[in-house]
Amino acid sequence: MKRWLRPITPIIAALFIVTACGGSTPSAGGSAAPSAAGSAATSAAPEDKELVFYSGGDTNVQDLHTKQIIPAFEKATGIKVTFTFLEHGTGAQGIYDRIKAQKDTGKAQWDIDLWESDTGYYTRPDDLFLQVGASDIPNLAKVPKPTLDFVQNKAIPYRGSSVVLAYNSDKVTNPPQTYDDLLAWIKANPGKFAYNEPSTGGSGDAFVISMIYKYSDYQKYVTQPFSAANEKDWDAAFAALKALAPSLYSKGVYPKGNAGTLDLLNRGEIWMGSVWSDQSTQALAAGQLPKSVKITQINPAFNGGAAYIGITKNATHKQAAMKYLNFLLEPAQQSLIVTGAMSGYPGIDWQYMPSDARTRFSGADKEYRLWPGGTYGQDMQRLWHEKVAQ
């Protein structure tokens, strides 16, 4: 026993040191950044020469802004962008509180101009974000209206992703066109379709949500506030899902996580599954899925969502902020999102996109439906477990 442990002790000690150092890096970066941003936003000129932009998310979001969009924007306009990035929304609430504090103390000029974060923040009753239209940002005319209505025009959608249908083209020559087609296909090909457990990844939720929209009116969910009464329609949807289980992979095994479905597709266990547009396209590009796997979108579509950026209501550099967003919505910049490492959908309608961007999502370059999430999402996941899981 002891002889075993002795050579390992230094390794364990080294591991501790490594993890300790690794943990300290992001906090150091985070604490240094706000002070730099604070000093940048002091004066307001009639012609804005700078812009303060706070963002969060994955590192690919950071790369998109810092390596591609911002340098091109600075070159085109001469406006200097101060960009502060907080990974994975850490401290998003803190940023929100900082903006709110400036409103509460009655400051006329707020020190954050642009903020990219979770959709829910923009429409909170605190009313911290500027309502924008095509007169402020001309390219907003190209953005599909539902995605703007979704946040009451208080933020602009500049990239998105949706759930799509992935299929093995060696086995499936005629992929289903509608949700009913898909259900018929699943029953005709038992064991060859899977959707992941809804609580573990959005691509599983989307399959369940499509069933809910089959039995309950879609408009109720995107135009009206939450009402528990709408959930009465769900019983029929869950009963249909339960009845479908024997035709699913392994007679009703729901893989864990979005990656679970991709893994089954990759191993040839299933021929079809609901997957995320960006995740599956990236996996295809990286060779993690065989080339025979293709994606398509059914009609009406699976749900998806957009990532938003909002202008704060009393932003110091409002004009610069609008310019940045307009620049971001140009087809050239939108193409970077679609064809680059992000594999995102554009914020503007597909029809304005160049053809090389459209071919990347050929078959799935369509509008998606929305899902309000929140309390509906929580209830849907719980009820699925109670009524469908086995």
Binding site: M1, W4, P225, F226, S227, S250, Q378, H385
Partner: protein, 300 residues
Amino acid sequence: MAVVTSARAVGRPRRRDRSRVAGVLLVLPSLLYLTVFVFIPVIKAFATSFTVRDRDDAGNYTYRVGLDNYNQLIASDTLRSNVIFTVFIAVASVAIVFVIAYVIALALRFGRGPSARFLGRIYIVPLFIPSVIASYAMITFLANHGFVDGILQAIGLPDGAFPKIVFDWKGIVITQVWLSLPFMTVLLSSVLLEISDSLIESARDVGASSWQIFRHIVLPLSAPGALIGVTFIFLGVIGGFTVPYLLGPNAPQMLGVSMVYYMTNYFEPYIASTQAVAIFLLSLVAAVYYVRQQFKREIR
């Protein structure tokens, strides 16, 4: 343990005051730690489990105090089967770990030759493999059309005849057994080492068979230590998350997984706390036993 030692030191009358201060100072850090990270959270979870949340049609919440969460734990098919499933997995895992670890420990204690030496080196390996890695390894190893199924099909097992192990209770039990085995074996080995050779040799001299030696000497002498190991494994399995999350079925779920779902996905912290109390009460059974065994040792 620190409490007991310092309490004994108090016995001497002359250095009484100084040692009392020292004793308090020694206990203070661990007491603070326990208060902040154990007692307060436990009390909060208890309190939360009696908070009942009602929701009106527009989604506004009202709160009151009541036993509804506990009623739901018993009345809801989903929640009740989760509790039963958790106990079943814990008992099954512990029983299998105990039997296998005992056999290995016996081989290590009484076995001679290269195979016993080899076993002595290899059994410890799972101790150094994180449960996430072990779980993913088990998935690729035991999945339908996985490694084992592939080999069996190559030698003639028909496709589809391989049992469903992954995404099933069997997957959880196998992985928990695999992960717990080194700890249990180490513990049992040290317990068996305490049994002196002379005792066994004298039994053999008066004509006892190997089975009689095991049944009347080894087993009774190792039982108290072995049962403490059983307690630890039981506690580890009953509160587990990673293994049941990755390898378990969609339903029923073990309480650790279900609790996380209720907390983070369904936004039902009150039901989650009630499940936490259920785990706590189940663990208490094992903990009380452990404390009693320790107490007996102190007396000795």
